[in-house]
């Protein structure tokens, strides 16, 4: 009888530990997102989850790519040298592709400003044509 009670106690402790663990997993999953919160629209909505998954510069860059119908684009130093921004922008902007192009996506106050022609701007990101 004592043994059975001990086993039941042990199982209850383990299950409680499991529940606490899942609570911690949930909390940690939420904190992994950029907004630290659940999405505020239907999970099936067209732009759902963009702001919680991607930095604003990447979202702005994609808006520029779409607005200017760029199929191939180049990137400025800021996006080339930062693997996080580089990969996020390339996968988010797909099917537009990163490659050899006169159209450069760069920061509005970046090094392209002085040597290229400005085409369009979205907050702190711009499209330039460089010859």
């Amino acid at each position: 009888m004592k043994k059975k009670r001990f086993i039941n106690f042990l199982l209850t402790v383990l299950i409680c530990a499991g529940l606490i663990e899942y609570f911690k997993i949930g909390k940690s999953l939420v904190s992994e997102t950029l907004t630290n919160s659940f999405v505020n629209s239907s999970p099936f909505a067209l732009h759902a989850g963009e702001d919680s998954s991607l930095p604003a510069v990447v979202i702005n860059a994609k808006k520029l790519i779409n607005r200017n119908s760029l199929q191939i684009f180049s990137l400025d130093e800021k996006f080339i040298n930062d693997p996080f921004l580089h990969q996020r922008l390339i996968e988010f902007s797909y099917p537009a592709r990163f490659g050899n192009s006169n159209y450069f996506i760069g920061m509005s106050n970046g090094e392209l400003k002085s040597r290229c022609d400005l085409i369009d701007t979205e907050e702190n990101v711009s499209v330039y044509v460089c010859k």
Binding site: K24, G26, L29, V39, G49, S53, Q87
Partner: protein, 399 residues
């Protein structure tokens, strides 16, 4: 305690149906990409089979709660995780937008590991097709559908609800965020554990020659086929488990094991490895100079210690818990030969991979070892729990 050692074929049927649909979906993408209507049908069928499998509400309550938790967090959150985005979801997006399973084989964005297999990505692309567009939330939720078959089988094999609750607790403790953030490592770990448990079960059931084992055998083929197409690690796991089964699980006919191996590897090579080979895409770990890197690191005590320290740090406690089994009355090492030798072999392969890595060792270990060891840890604790389903006197039948 009453323990049923024979095989109830019906218990394998839902997992087998789900696996068949998932594999069918991949084959469809390879030869004739599914239309939107077909994609909707696939998801309705997958959901219905899952619901039918979970209809025994009281028995499946732990699994139902686990899946509800998964639905809340996969459909409620964005997908910010680096590897999930850069590899698996990016491949899915490419399949969906290119309407082509092999879209990534043009090797655009090589950092996305274009040689990695695509069963998760193909399923996510199918869901995107069913919904009608791509976004940053719902595609990763298909990993729940991939989690259902092995968990259904585990639920059937553990027999008692309490063991399933403990198994789900163990999975949570070991896999943590990797369960729901779009990584494949937890899936590989759970599939491996399910495969090892099914193999032990078939081997045990075949002591009684009247047992029918056709469904578990076909289920095993479907599990191996999905595992191998989840991630490159699945190939190593499948090779080890099949070889060990061939030599250790004496009750399973050798011809069956060969049939399982041939069907699994044929599907993998036809659907994935051959197209990757013809596209000349290199696996990063196989880059030239592999042997020299292994030799250099073997002579470096610091490197060896670094690898072993990491193994001990992330798997030590689970190895310790598993070893407790050997102190139970009547348990011989042969009873636990399959999981024990699997763990030793997989440790060996991981050790070799880290010795040969072209990347900085500290960086490579830091970014991957915790996830790579999930398979070992889940197998250790999964088989530890399973040994409570099979009391010692049942082991004796095998001797």
């Amino acid at each position: 305690m009453f323990v049923n050692n024979s095989i109830d074929n019906e218990e394998f049927l839902p997992a087998l149906s789900l696996n068949a649909l998932i594999l069918g979906c991949l084959v469809m993408w390879a030869f004739l990409p599914p239309s939107r209507l077909v994609s909707i049908f696939i998801f309705i069928a997958l959901t219905l089979i899952t619901l039918i499998a979970l209809r025994k509400f009281s028995k499946q309550l732990p699994l139902i709660l686990f899946l509800l938790f998964g639905i809340i967090f996969t459909l409620g959150l964005g997908s910010p995780n680096w590897d999930a985005r850069s590899i698996w979801l990016f491949h899915a997006k490419r399949i969906y937008m290119g309407n082509n399973l092999y879209a990534q084989l043009d090797n655009y964005a090589p950092w996305s590991h274009n040689d990695y297999p695509v069963i998760f990505s193909a399923l996510a692309a199918t869901l995107a097709k069913a919904v009608g567009h791509w976004n940053e939330v719902f595609p990763k939720s298909v990993l729940l559908l991939l989690l259902v078959p092995p968990l259904l089988v585990c639920s059937a094999l553990f027999q008692q609800k309490i063991l399933m609750v403990l198994f789900l607790t163990v999975i949570g403790v070991i896999c943590r965020n990797n369960l729901f953030n779009g990584h494949m490592d937890a899936l590989v770990a759970i599939y491996t554990c399910a495969i090892i448990l099914i193999t032990i079960k078939i081997n045990k059931a075949l002591v009684d020659s009247s047992s029918e084992y056709i469904y578990p055998t076909i289920t095993l083929i479907s599990f191996f086929s999905i595992l191998i197409l989840l991630k490159n690690e699945g190939l190593a796991v499948s090779l080890i488990v099949l070889l060990l089964t061939f030599f250790l699980q004496k009750n399973i006919p050798k011809l069956n094991i060969i049939a399982i191996a041939v069907s699994t590897f044929a599907l993998y090579f036809i659907l994935w490895k051959w197209p990757v080979h013809t596209a000349n895409i290199e696996t990063d770990i196989m880059m030239s100079g592999m042997l020299q890197r292994v030799i250099d690191r073997l002579y470096s005590n610091d490197d060896l210690q670094l690898i072993l320290d990491n193994f001990l740090k992330y798997s030590g406690i689970y190895v310790g818990i598993f070893l407790l089994n050997f102190f139970r009355f009547g348990v011989k090492w042969t009873h636990l030969a399959l999981p024990t030798l699997f763990v030793i072999s997989y440790f060996g392969i991981l050790f070799l991979i880290y010795l040969s890595t072209p990347y900085d060792l500290t960086y490579h270990l830091g970014t991957s070892v915790k996830r790579a060891l999930l398979t070992i840890n889940v197998v250790l604790l999964g088989t530890f729990l399973y040994s409570f389903v099979n009391p010692i006197n049942n082991f004796k039948k095998e001797d």
